[in-house]
């Protein structure tokens, strides 16, 4: 396969037990291949190890076994080739919105004039014109996450990793953010790995939904989503969408029950 961007090979993660407790198996050996321009959502109940998997890809955590290849090279740590958007608001509070977006470019040593152009184009793409010189604190949660997406994309990473980025937003904002992200992906041919526990979000955004089991996490199902693009929010009420949602709800429900020990 020539257009493989990311190759996760038998990656597992075991956290050592604290104070003599038994070690925690967060992630069973998991394999996943992400092709160029894929939009993959990883769906699973809380604590299923989906964030752990994403953090390993980002290089912020290390696999206990297995390896992750990005464009054929093994990942050894975090780097600018993988952009990450976190659930918590991680804009640098001492930098303005424009400076936040420029952060990665500055670290890379991109000349100032070029930096300014790239920042301006991303300000435009995430609809934050007029807020360039505001500080993060002055912006709403949705605007902060839009800035975070722009900051990650400004580095032009090979893959964009998102860890429940809209989890803390209200429903209306969340829906708008989904459309914005999808729009960027449709226009710019990005490769995206998106972790969520929201079924609707997983279907609406994805070209493939990966369903994970309860802890210890492993991949339970890999479901292609063939809904046409560009997608519009009205699609969420279409019969195709509903049947996919019913199918995934069933898959997830079993796992949630298991995770809660309620079965």
């Amino acid at each position: 396969m020539t257009n493989t961007v990311l190759d996760i090979e038998n990656v597992s993660r075991v956290f050592p037990g604290v104070r003599g407790a038994a070690p925690v198996r967060a992630l069973e050996p998991t394999s996943l291949t992400v092709a160029q321009n894929d939009f993959i959502t990883v769906l699973g109940p809380s604590g299923c190890g989906k964030s752990t998997l994403l953090r390993i890809v980002a290089g912020l955590d290390y696999p206990s076994s297995g390896r992750v290849l990005l464009e054929g090279r093994e990942i050894k740590g975090p780097g600018a080739d993988r952009g990450m958007v976190f659930q918590s608001y991680t804009l640098f509070p001492w930098l303005t919105i424009a400076e936040n977006i420029a952060y990665g470019l500055r670290e890379k040593g991109v000349p100032k004039a070029q930096r300014r152009d790239i920042v301006a184009s991303y300000i435009e793409k995430v609809g934050l014109r007029g807020f360039e010189n505001h500080y993060p604190k002055q912006l709403s949660g949705g605007m902060q996450q839009r800035t975070a997406i722009a900051r990650a994309l400004a580095n032009d990473p090979a893959i964009l990793l998102l860890d429940e980025p809209f989890g803390a937003l209200d429903n209306q904002t969340r829906a708008l953010m989904q459309e914005l992200l999808l729009g960027i992906w449709e226009r710019e041919q990005k490769t995206v790995l998106f972790v969520t526990h929201d079924i609707e979000e997983a279907i609406f955004l994805a070209s493939r939904v990966i369903v994970m089991t309860a802890r210890p996490g492993r991949i339970k199902a890999d479901i292609p989503v063939d809904l046409p693009h560009p997608r519009h929010y009205t699609m969420k009420t279409s019969p195709e969408f509903s049947s996919l949602k019913a199918q995934l709800t069933e898959e997830i429900r079993l796992e949630a029950l298991q995770a809660d020990g309620m079965h």
Binding site: F92, P93, L95, K108, Y135
Partner: protein
């Protein structure tokens, strides 16, 4: 009665703050001018002001104030310039912290005033000795507090920086430092306040100038008015420097208030 945590208006805050000063002054005046306390032990406010005026106009007290400020600021800057980088490194690099933290935790409890006799032995009774007292009193405190602040930097900001391509050095310079700059400034403001108490101790022994020296001289003359004036001057200077520091911090770190 106000409810717990209920805010107070700006005007009422100022009025309340001033009224305590007034009450304090009135009580002092009543106790001394009313003859309840012997003048030998406590001067009344009017005598204190007269003594103060005399000190300033006839006995060159301005020069004493100047030299004391110079000692505090000099010793404090010396301590800050060395202590802040060490504190940042300790907060950032855990082996470095493990290496130094136990010793510094011990050293911070060594009272600066207890070093005065020793420092006189080592550095004489010149300016160096005064600066060293301030230095010892501030140095270890700054290191430990800065190390704690830097060590508590939000982990997710550091992780975000790494995913944006920062190197280890980049994270220290462009995340740990700016993220903690306001807190470091706060720490310096606090420690500068403490430094004022050390300088007087340094000047009480083996000194021929400074506010502390004047107070000791006045004791020999039983001039309680002068002594109280000296103490009040220290309080006022402390208040002013605190105010300036706060204003500077607000101006430098406006992002925090945005």
């Amino acid at each position: 009665m106000p409810r717990p945590l209920e805010p107070v208006s700006q005007g009422a805050r100022v009025a309340l703050g001033i009224s305590f000063f007034v009450i304090f002054l009135v009580a002092w005046a009543a106790a001394t001018l009313g003859g309840f306390v012997s003048r030998t032990f406590l001067a009344d406010p009017i005598t204190m002001m007269q003594d103060g005026w005399l000190l300033l106009t006839r006995f060159g007290f301005m020069a004493d104030i100047g030299i004391t400020i110079w000692r505090v600021v000099g010793g404090f800057i010396l301590a800050a310039v060395i202590a802040v980088p060490i504190g940042v490194l300790m907060g950032a690099y855990k082996p470095f912290e493990a290496f130094l933290e136990p010793f510094i935790s011990f050293a911070r409890y060594l009272p600066a005033s207890a070093f005065v006799p020793l420092l006189i032995l080592w550095a004489g009774i010149g300016e160096m000795q005064k600066l060293l007292v301030i230095f010892i009193g501030s140095f270890f405190q700054i290191i430990l507090m800065v190390a704690v602040a830097v060590g508590n930097t939000r982990r997710d900001l550091v992780e975000a920086a790494y995913t944006l391509g920062s190197t280890d050095q980049g994270v220290v310079k462009r995340v740990l430092l700016p993220a903690n700059a306001p807190e470091i400034a706060e720490i310096l403001r606090l420690v500068l306040g403490w430094a004022w108490t050390y300088v007087i101790v340094a000047e009480l022994i083996g000194s021929s100038s400074g506010i502390g020296h004047m107070i000791i001289d006045s004791q020999a003359l039983m001039a309680t008015g002068q002594m109280i004036f000296g103490i009040i001057v220290i309080g006022v200077i402390g208040l002013i420097s605190d105010f300036l520091f706060k204003a500077l911090n607000r101006a430098l770190f406006s992002w925090r208030l945005a």
